[in-house]
């Protein structure tokens, strides 16, 4: 087991007071805190790869953390592509790596 990345006793900010819930990522069952952004719950589980680049296939993850850069797109069952840094985690969410957006220039439509 790797050391958790959660900061449990922050010297100035205290504790996070949130309920532990379950969700899945690429089919794997994981735990996170209710209401924290999906990207945060994944990071706390040491998961950084959120999607693959449309053309090169290289791994991409969270970059700005506040909704500006659009790098952290993941696929949320029932919702489609969402920004993982802004979307609050809920019990039972089924999340997958972001799918590839179509390319209007090359004409590629697959995902």
């Amino acid at each position: 087991m790797r050391k958790s990345l959660r900061i449990n006793h922050h010297p100035l900010l205290g504790e996070m007071d949130k309920k532990v819930i379950s969700f899945t990522y690429n089919g794997e069952k994981l735990q996170g805190l209710e209401g924290e952004p999906i990207a945060v719950a994944l990071l706390a589980n040491h998961i950084r790869i959120l999607r693959r680049h449309e053309e090169s296939g290289s791994a991409r993850g969270l970059y700005c953390g506040i909704g500006h850069c659009m790098e952290c797109r993941v696929e949320l069952l029932g919702k489609g592509q969402v920004r993982a840094c802004l979307t609050p985690l809920k019990e039972g969410m089924e999340i997958r790596e972001g799918s590839r957006l179509p390319n209007a220039i090359t004409g590629r439509v697959d995902s």
Binding site: L13, L43, A44, H53, C64, I66, H68, L86, T87, P88
Partner: protein, 407 residues
């Protein structure tokens, strides 16, 4: 939310500027005020900030935000989170605002969208585990999850030092704070001399005593070159931070995520010294390229802009009362130029008085409040702990002059 919502004042952005404006105006008048924000909770960038004040007490942004939210709740302001604004349209009697949850019609519109970070395309920067310095701050301080166990910071500026300090407080190891490589196009602080010049302007917020007392002197006597030459290659500890002004982060390595960085020594003008490259294991890298005003919505609305480097970028033209050149459209906070949260709060209060004044009720009663609010912004700016740019006053005057010229 399919039917169109109606309000008298819509504020986009629930950061310190937007929340202060809402609390001020609704505390004063019977007037429908709505605040929307795309982040899941209100507070904006306040939520991630804390710093030590001159009297050694801690200023904690989360607490300031909680207080503003209570004021708003008591005043009956509606705050809606998780709503993104993507379009604006001028109507004969106000604005139509297009959001991810439907349209909103409002008479007055205040844009308080804050700032965003300038990225730096260093080799390897798209690897998962590389993030902006602000993202590292948000992970550690807002969500209380470490961005990683051990990281490197690239970019030496006010924000990178302040956040590095916060990361250390949270128990995260910082291996070094280094310069970006000098072949990176058009970055301001890529060489040791420029970085020291920047640091010596920080006065009170300077991270080391020698900078605080030496700062003004060094600036006056142009000592930056000398300091850059004497700066030890292995760096110095300031605020317990490993500040490496003679080191550049050359590239970030890893297969599917960050595994290490390559750093190298640089000459005082920033050229890499061949043979000094070395690899250091880390699991995250934070890029600190500085902040710029997030003003896309003002551009969509049709505001004219002026590029002002001292304020961080392109600024929608506005006057000292925070009115733009378009009808019923106001701006407050970092969208008007990058400064700290206390200035944003004072600007929010000023925007509220400006809108009340323009709404036309009790103008004779409003005018002195408006003038007081203008004076207060200046006073807060003057005494701010963290100054992002020098020469802010004269830069702002240029914008106000352009406003007069435009109108």
């Amino acid at each position: 939310m399919s039917e169109v919502q109606q309000t008298d004042l819509l504020i986009v952005g629930a950061g310190p500027a937007g929340l202060s404006a809402a609390a001020t105006i609704s505390a004063d008048r019977d007037f429908r005020v709505m605040v929307i924000d795309e982040f899941p909770e209100p507070g904006g960038r306040l939520l991630g900030q804390f710093h030590e004040e001159r009297n050694h007490s801690w200023w904690i942004g989360k607490i300031v935000a909680a207080d503003l939210i209570i004021q708003n709740t008591l005043a009956g302001v509606m705050i809606q989170c998780g709503v993104s604004v993507y379009g604006l349209e001028l109507l004969p009697d106000g604005w139509r605002v297009l959001t991810s949850k439907g349209d909103i019609r409002t008479k007055y519109l205040l844009l308080a969208t804050g700032a965003a970070e300038v990225p730096m395309p260093i080799s390897g920067w798209t690897l998962p585990g590389v993030m902006s310095i602000g993202a590292a701050q948000v992970m550690a301080n807002v969500h209380q999850v470490k961005p990683g166990e051990r990281g490197y910071i690239v970019g030496v500026n006010v924000l990178s030092l302040a956040i590095a300090k916060e990361l250390v407080v949270a128990g995260i190891e910082i291996e070094g704070i280094a310069l970006p490589p000098d072949d990176l196009f058009a970055m301001e602080e890529t060489n040791p001399v420029a970085a020291i010049e920047l640091l010596t302007r920080l006065s009170d917020a300077a991270p080391a005593p020698w900078m605080r007392w030496g700062g003004k002197l060094a600036q006056k006597m142009k000592l930056s070159r000398l300091i850059a030459s004497c700066f030890p290659k292995k760096g110095v500890k300031v605020w317990d931070l490993p500040l490496q002004l003679r080191t550049a982060l050359v590239s970030i390595q890893g297969v599917d995520q960050v595994e290490s960085v390559i750093v190298a020594d640089v000459t005082r003008s920033g050229e890499i010294i061949e043979g000094s490259q070395r690899e250091i294991e880390v699991d995250f890298v934070a890029i600190a390229g500085g902040l710029y005003p997030l003003a896309e919505l003002a551009a969509l609305a049709g505001c004219p802009f002026l590029y002002v480097s001292e304020l961080g970028g392109n600024i929608p033209v506005h006057n000292e009362r925070l009115k733009t050149t378009l009808p019923n459209l106001y701006v407050a906070g970092n969208i008007t130029g990058v400064e700290g949260a206390q200035v944003a709060m004072a600007q929010g209060r000023l925007a509220a008085h400006s809108i009340s004044y323009d709404a036309g009720w009790f103008a004779c009663e409003e005018e002195p409040k408006l003038l007081d609010a203008i004076a207060e912004v200046k006073e807060v700016r003057r005494s701010a702990m963290i100054q992002f740019h020098p020469e802010i006053d004269s830069a702002r005057k240029r914008i106000y002059e352009l406003f007069e010229h435009w109108m």
